[in-house]
């Protein structure tokens, strides 16, 4: 009780005097980073888990580009199963003069068989579970679609040739893609209205789906019965696969975010260790006094432990609140990326934060506090009497144990843990070496210049180890921020630059052969060049050199996907300008021999095929045997219609085809688009600019969210700096007093201190800019196959940001020492 009341009383006072602020901030920061990420991943994770079970809106989903035979429905009914049908495809819809690309989904009675559709009666109105499906003549539309078309519930919307009324706002459907909304907003309509739209005809890109649900055993039995009769074009999706995919994707994201939080956590740990050392040191006098007054070691230990626990709990409280607020802001920013409202945050992240804070404190602060217990009471008379330093083994052991425990919690996989731990140790060691190197260089450059400069740089060099730790901690936070702010825009800009100024920005798809003439007429009338109409025929590969594509072995995993996918095929007389032959030869003009095929080089590599190999495709029930006559390199960024497989002229004459075209339409020519689609409602226009904007919007928002997590890393870097400055504050106060007593002006002392921080900031900025550049070029080259252009702004921002941030925080941390009157300091010493 005595120890408790003493601990409580003195803690309250220490808190008010600011003595424990840095230690407390470091704990709160660590907890905030963890709980923010924890809340976020907890909510997303639970949303994914909730959706995973209903993501198919059925127990089994058969999907096909061709209409599904009616017998299957009947067969399913025979097994006592429920069924429902959907048909979906992208199409541009209109309201007055406005238009927007939308995913049209025709749904039949019974949809959805699992989960529920949720709608609202007006924009941002209260959500409710929908009963049944839209009445014929009406649709349910995504709020973003309504916003784009500037209409409300009750207004009408043109879908193809049909005029339909918007009956409700669609807020959720179980089979919207997992977790994140798909690019084009959805429009649900009753299947009975589909014929009136006239959007589905020969060659349309429609996905037909048959949804089946019932007792698991019946579903399995039904599937076994029809499995062998299913054409290759039919994809079957069952719940197990889908929920596994969803869960995997979300747990990968969670791990990534948790790891980023761990970086902040480890930096906070450095700050905790530093400020705990300082805290313990500051308390030594009080402990020695307590002991001289008769306090036992147990009392000292109890009081210190109680204070540590109070500190931990307070840190958890503050950190959790910050974490919750940050998470709240992040999910607010990301709200429209999620398919549905996220479940309310749970309490688990707070428990996690609490546990981690305690681990951090025990691992990084306890050794210093244990040392307190051994403070000799003699210290009341002789200030140089110190307790023996904590054993290195204890310090290294507890901190390594704490780091391992925290990492394991974030990663949850022993093998991965070893890799990450090893990686982290290696990166920290090399960063530390780089930091030491920079600090040593700074130290050497102090000769000759003014006293402030020399004093500042001498300080950096003298506290070599601590300086290096500060440079690394700060540099790490800065690296990540630079990476996220600059590299993201650099990469997008780099990609945009590879695009031609005149690159097409609109795709016209689903053009029927007879529509080419009329479309060309409209375009020509506007004085624009008529684009090339490229035929598009869909087929599926069955054999390669006589070998079944399903059983064949491929050099890379993607080969299997490439072989089994529904392929878009075309035929061309002339090699398109964005293509280049790398092997074999393009067919001569007027060629009408055996059917040949030209294969894109990556596809050829993935399939493991070369010149002379034979590919058989099944197109609309007929087989066609093709010989590879050339391999092409394709510039996919050209935004021309491009194909993995191009077939020689004449070979595809007997197959039904639609046409695609790409063209550049500037904003001022938008009305051309409207006239085109009005005249040919079944032609779909895809606006690449809009999609690019949307993609950029998503990237911006997602990186903003990640940045929010990384701001903690920078804040932890600042905490390390504060802790480091604080640990030297007595020394600084004394030095400043002596210098001023010797006649050095306060301003000069201040410039000396600022020189020191500027040097540290410069070194951090250098490390950060170098780190960000290296990472950026690796990301650009390895991930995006772009050339990374050196960006001088990144270095300017890194160095300026480093110097400014460190100077500012260092000044705030050290100003007390500089301003203390020298007489007071020297008398007290």
């Amino acid at each position: 009780m005595k120890a408790l009341s003493f601990a409580l009383r003195s803690f309250g006072r220490e808190l008010r005097s600011g003595e424990v602020i840095v230690l407390l901030s470091a704990v709160a920061l660590a907890v905030a980073a963890l709980t923010a990420v924890g809340f976020l991943t907890d909510r997303i994770g639970r949303a994914v888990a909730r959706q995973a079970n209903e993501v198919l809106a059925a127990d089994l989903r058969l999907r096909s580009p061709d209409p599904l035979p009616l017998e299957w429905r009947a067969a399913a009914a025979d097994y006592g199963l429920q069924t429902a049908e959907t048909q979906s495809f992208p199409s541009v819809v209109f309201a007055g003069e406005l238009n927007a690309l939308s995913t049209i989904i025709g749904i039949g009675d019974g949809y959805p068989l699992r989960g529920a559709v949720r709608i609202a009666d007006d924009l941002f109105g209260e959500e409710r579970v929908a009963e049944g499906i839209p009445e014929p003549g009406s649709v349910w539309a995504d709020s973003s679609l309504l916003a784009k078309l500037n209409i409300e519930v009750g207004d009408s919307i043109s879908v193809g040739e049909a005029e339909l009324r918007v009956a409700a706002v669609l807020t959720y459907r179980p089979d919207q893609s997992i977790g994140f909304a798909s690019l084009a907003p959805s429009l649900l309509l009753n299947l009975r209205d589909m014929p009136a739209t006239a959007l589905i005809n020969e060659g349309s890109r429609v996905q037909y789906a048959l949804l089946v649900a019932g007792e698991q055993a019946d579903v399995d039995e039904f599937f076994l019965a029809v499995e062998d009769d299913l054409p290759d074009s039919v994809r079957t999706l069952n719940q197990e696969d889908s929920s596994e995919r969803a869960t995997n994707a979300s747990s990968r994201a969670q791990r990534f975010l948790s790891l980023t939080a761990v970086i902040s956590l480890l930096l906070s740990a450095v700050a905790i260790a530093m400020s705990a050392r300082r805290y313990a040191h500051r308390r030594m006098d009080a402990v020695a006094l307590m002991k001289s007054l008769g306090a036992s070691q147990r009392f000292v230990l109890q009081a210190a432990s109680i204070q540590l626990v109070i500190l931990g709990l307070l840190g958890v409280l503050i950190g959790s609140i910050i974490g919750y607020l940050v998470e709240y802001a992040v999910t607010g920013m990301l709200a429209d990326l999620f398919a549905s409202a996220l479940p309310e945050p749970g309490f688990t992240p707070v428990l996690l934060g609490t546990g981690s804070a305690l681990i951090l404190l025990v691992g990084f602060a306890l050794p210093s506090l244990l040392q307190l217990r051994n403070t000799p009471p003699l210290r009341v008379l002789r200030h140089d009497a110190m307790p023996p330093p904590p054993s290195r083994l204890l310090v290294a052991g507890t901190s390594l144990l704490a780091v391992t425990a925290l990492l394991y919690q974030a990663i949850g996989d022993a093998q991965m843990l070893v890799i990450v731990l090893g990686g982290m140790l290696a990166v920290s060691a090399s960063l530390y070496v780089a930091g030491r190197g920079l600090v040593a260089l700074l130290g050497r450059s102090r000769g000759g210049v003014g006293i402030a400069w020399r004093y500042g740089l001498a300080n950096v060099a003298r506290r070599g180890r601590d300086s290096a730790v500060q440079v690394v901690a700060f540099g790490l936070g800065l690296t990540v921020l630079l990476l996220l702010t600059f590299v993201r825009t650099d990469l997008l800009e780099g990609w945009r630059q590879t695009l031609d100024e005149d690159a097409p920005n609109h795709f016209l798809i689903n053009i029927q052969p007879h529509e080419r003439e009329s479309l060309a007429g409209i375009i020509r009338a506007d004085g624009l060049e008529v684009p090339q109409f490229v035929p598009l025929i869909r087929g599926r590969m069955t054999t390669i050199n006589g070998e079944d594509v399903k059983t064949r072995k491929y050099p890379v995993e993607d080969g299997e996907w490439m072989a089994n996918r529904e392929a878009n095929l075309t035929w061309l007389e002339q090699l398109s300008s964005s293509n280049e032959i790398v092997a074999g030869e393009w067919w001569p003009e007027g060629y009408d021999g055996d059917p040949l095929v030209s294969v894109e080089e990556d596809a050829a590599m993935e399939l493991g095929v070369g010149l002379g190999d034979r590919l058989v495709f099944l197109i609309a029930g007929q087989e066609i045997d093709l010989t590879i006559s050339s391999i092409r390199r394709v510039n996919w960024d050209s935004f021309q219609p491009n194909f993995f497989m191009v077939i020689s002229p004449g070979a595809l004459d007997n197959f039904p085809s639609t046409y695609v075209a790409s063209m550049r339409i500037t904003e001022s020519q938008d009305d051309l688009l409207i006239r085109l689609v009005r005249a040919h409602p079944t032609v779909s226009v895809i606006d690449l600019d809009a999609i690019l904007r949307q993609v950029k919007g998503i990237i911006d928002k997602a990186s903003l969210a990640v940045q929010a997590v990384f701001v903690f890393t920078l804040a932890a870097g600042i905490a390390v700096l504060f802790a480091a400055v604080q640990s030297t504050i007595d020394e600084r106060r004394f030095e400043s007093a002596i210098l001023r007593a010797l006649g050095v002006r306060r301003r000069t002392v201040l410039s000396g201190v600022l020189t020191e921080f500027a040097a540290l900031g410069f070194a951090s900025g250098l490390l950060a800019a170098a780190g960000a550049s290296i990472l950026a070029s690796v990301i650009a080259v390895q991930l995006f196959e772009l050339e990374y252009a050196f960006n001088p702004m990144l270095w300017v921002a890194g160095l300026a940001g480093g110097v400014l941030l460190v100077c500012l925080s260092g000044f705030v941390a050290a100003r007390g020492a500089i301003n203390a009157p020298p007489t007071d300091v020297l008398r007290a010493a």
Partner: protein, 235 residues
């Protein structure tokens, strides 16, 4: 060895106390074979030049440190036979301290500082006892003030109140006026001697101040770690 008078009611006895420390230059002898005994209620000044071993002797007598050889008896208990916690418990029951730099706990107010040893020693009414003694040293109005809000003289009065609060058998004072101006120093010493007399506490004082030393019943002089004189003040 200097002859010394050993009062029958000895509160504090040093027997052949030697203290050596190791340094880069080899073993340093700070105190060499010091013996004396101090009786109940006596006031004793330990004097000597800087480095003579005064503070070391004080630390050993109070059990803050252990001698290399020899014995120290505090109220009949051999300090050198106790472990650190045992010595702390003995201090809690028998010893009070007044230091040159006051050594108040900055996070506690005046009242709490005085209550500290009372609570450590298990006093049943620490608050009342502390308030009484603060009243006695003239700080009844300032009990809620923190050390940073008090003047040097006031801080030392809090320290004296804290030292006398437990009714210790021995009060150790290390240069108690060293950080005070002479007027305040006089006031403080008057207060100490008054409390010393009224509570018949033994007072052991380390000081440079010859005038102050003369106010004590007895003066023990050290030189280079040896006891060179031990004399009673002229009545």
């Amino acid at each position: 060895m200097t002859s010394l008078s050993v009062p029958e009611d000895a509160v504090l006895t040093a027997e052949n106390v030697t203290k050596q420390v190791s340094s880069p230059e080899g073993t340093l002898t700070i105190l060499s074979d010091v013996s004396f005994s101090i009786g109940k209620g006596e006031s004793v000044a330990i004097v000597g030049a800087s480095g003579a071993g005064k503070s070391t002797l004080l630390a050993l007598l109070a059990g803050l440190d252990l001698p290399t050889s020899g014995r120290i008896l505090l109220n009949g208990t051999d300090l050198t036979a106790l472990d650190e916690d045992g010595r702390a418990a003995l201090r809690a029951a028998n010893v009070g301290f007044v230091f040159q730099s006051f050594h108040l706990v900055p996070s506690l107010n005046a009242l709490e500082n005085v209550m500290l040893p009372l609570e450590l020693g298990g006093n049943a009414t620490p608050r009342k006892t502390a308030l009484d003694i603060l009243q006695k040293v003239g700080l009844g109005e300032r009990v809620r003030h923190y050390p940073s809000q008090l003047s040097g003289g006031e801080m030392q009065r809090v320290a004296i109140a804290r030292a006398f609060a437990t009714g210790p058998a021995v009060l150790f004072a290390d240069e108690p006026t060293g950080n005070l101006d002479s007027r305040t120093g006089d006031h403080i010493m008057n207060l100490m001697f008054e409390l010393n007399r009224s509570s018949s506490t033994t007072l052991l004082l380390v000081t440079h101040d010859k005038a102050l030393a003369r106010r004590c019943d007895r003066e023990i002089s050290l030189d280079a770690g040896r006891l060179v004189s031990d004399r009673k003040a002229a009545a």
